[in-house]
């Protein structure tokens, strides 16, 4: 067990109607690690997250979580195992209260002891607990997505573009939050276009281009890699 990483992808591939969007992706993630996932639009980042979280099913390769194969499991089972995520366009339960949004996940997420108030405090929405989620700003809704994921007591969090549209001080707060989560032992895979933000929180990034993994290593090294530069500039 000790040699097995928390998450390990081996040759994972996905095609939509003959169009290959992800080709033989392999990497692994350790507990408490923050890994950045970068690449131009359409490079397959969100697809990778959808495959890991079970929203879509991989056509090829294996995904292992804590040593056991998990591809093909329904998303709610993955949530119970400890894999959770946020969405690029936040998807709260709009006609339910903010607190109810958290309570649902705390109740069904396989972590019944979870304290909704603590989660609300963590994501800084304690003051909005009673209002309908649909009444929050988009940024608040993104935080609510994160809070709902946290309420399931995850071991691996997939964060899809949480930073877009935030001002520097908000970005700073989120960076701190994500780092705090990592310190608790939660592994994070963060999809992000904001490289400064990523640079601040990650040790390691994975660069995708047209569905392939181009590079794995520090962001600094990535910016000097000719393949990566070509992918970003050449489109």
């Amino acid at each position: 067990m000790s040699s097995e990483p928390l998450l390990r992808l081996d040759g994972v591939g996905k095609a939509f109607g003959g169009n290959i969007v992800l080709n033989r992706l392999s990497f692994s993630v350790e507990p408490g690690e923050i890994v950045g996932l970068v690449g131009p639009n359409g490079s397959g980042k969100t697809t990778a997250i959808n495959l890991i979280s079970g929203v879509h099913r991989a056509d090829a390769g294996t995904i292992r979580f804590q040593g056991r194969p998990v591809q093909g499991l329904a998303p709610f089972r993955l949530a119970h195992l400890g894999i959770n995520r946020t969405f690029q366009v936040p998807k709260p339960f709009r006609e339910m209260g903010v607190r109810e949004n958290i309570e649902v996940a705390a109740h069904f997420g396989g972590a019944r002891g979870m304290d909704a108030d603590a989660v609300l405090a963590e994501i800084d929405l304690a003051g909005h607990a009673a209002i309908m989620a649909g009444g929050l700003t988009v940024n608040q809704q993104k935080m609510l997505d994160l809070g709902r994921a946290l309420a399931t007591d995850p071991k691996l969090l997939l964060i899809d573009e949480i930073g877009a549209g935030l001002n520097p001080s908000e970005l700073g707060a989120i960076a701190n939050l994500l780092q705090r989560l990592a310190q608790r032992g939660i592994a994070l895979i963060v999809v992000e276009h904001l490289l400064d933000f990523l640079n601040r929180i990650t040790n390691r990034v994975i660069v995708l281009g047209a569905g392939r993994m181009l590079f794995e290593g520090t962001l600094k090294a990535a910016s000097e890699n000719p393949d990566v530069v070509a992918a970003f500039i050449g489109g």
């Binding site: 998303p75 709610f76 109810e100 997420g109």
Partner: protein, 307 residues
């Protein structure tokens, strides 16, 4: 805020029981009361599915008819007590619902219309002359040897209480909270750890089972009937209109909707039959335009949380 526990549900159930036990002693047209209960049950059963999962079953009558036939055939071919046959009707409908389970993969209008088609298929198969030996085909069925208006009235009341209890459970429990979540966003609900498919199927089966029990009891109460009597689309349409009138996703909305509109239906039907269709049609149009969330939304708008 949410955790008022089981009390509102218990209050509604007890009130319904008292009202429908007293009514026959005050008002002699027991058929009218029986049918009113039947429509309240069907409206509530439809509300279980539509109000709590967003799936609108146009073909809801299919489960009603399936229950009627399953019950009647059990009465004709076995020596089981009638109550057991009625339960068999509920089970029969649940079996049909399991077979039709894949329809839940469809969404919106597709689900509704495919379900409508499924109910028509059941109707046409049951009434087909080639199956006369099994289903009675176009000649219908006759189970008048067990005809018992009192007992079937009480059975329908029990089903009404069961349906209301289920709705109250959906409204007030964590299970119901999960249903609300998955209706609003199934993907997020899955990420919150809800087994969306399982929950939806459970509700679907419960809703079908209620219609099946109601259908079985209805057949028992009629005791001589043609296929059309238990498969007519009018039954689906009434249940939908009643549910929307009262307000779906609540417990008392469908009860209010079905009871009041059914009384109105009979009121117009008895006093002003020529204008009936016209008035009913006009009423529906006005409702949708001016009160699309049902009469219970009149209270919601004033800040009252309708149970």
């Amino acid at each position: 805020m949410r955790d008022r526990g089981a009390w509102p549900g218990i209050v509604v159930v007890v009130l319904l029981a008292v009202v429908f036990l007293i009514l026959p002693h005050v008002y002699g047209n027991q058929s009218l009361l029986f049918q009113m209960m039947t429509f309240v049950v069907l409206t509530q059963g439809l509300n279980l599915l539509y109000g709590f999962t967003g799936y609108l079953p146009f073909g809801y009558v299919g489960f009603f008819g399936a229950g009627a036939y399953a019950t009647s055939l059990l009465v004709l071919h076995t020596d089981l007590p009638v109550i057991a046959c009625v339960i068999g009707g509920g089970i029969g409908s649940i079996v049909i619902a399991i077979i039709l389970g894949p329809l839940l993969r469809l969404s919106g209008a597709y689900f509704s219309i495919a379900n409508l088609a499924a109910s028509q298929i059941m109707f046409f198969v049951v009434s087909n002359g080639n199956l006369s030996k099994i289903t009675g085909g176009p000649y219908g069925l006759k189970i008048d040897r067990v005809y018992a208006p009192e007992a079937s009235y009480l059975t329908m009341l029990a089903i009404l209480l069961l349906a209301t209890g289920l709705a109250a459970y959906f409204r007030a429990s964590r299970f119901g909270l999960g249903l609300r979540a998955m209706t609003q966003d199934p993907v997020s609900a899955a990420m919150a750890g809800i087994d969306v498919v399982r929950q939806r199927v459970l509700v679907w089966l419960a809703s079908a089972g209620i219609a099946g029990l109601a259908g079985g009891t209805y057949a028992w109460n009629l005791s001589v009937f043609y296929p059309d009597a238990v498969f007519t689309l009018q039954i689906s349409v009434f249940a939908i209109v009643f549910a929307l009138f009262g307000g779906v996703g609540t417990v008392i909305g469908p009860i209010i909707g079905a009871a009041s509109l059914y009384l109105l239906y009979n009121g117009i039907g008895i006093s002003f039959p020529q204008g009936f269709e016209l008035l009913y049609g006009a009423l529906i149009v006005l409702l949708v335009l001016f009160l699309p969330n049902g009469v219970s939304s009149l209270l919601t708008r004033r800040g009252v949380r309708v149970f």
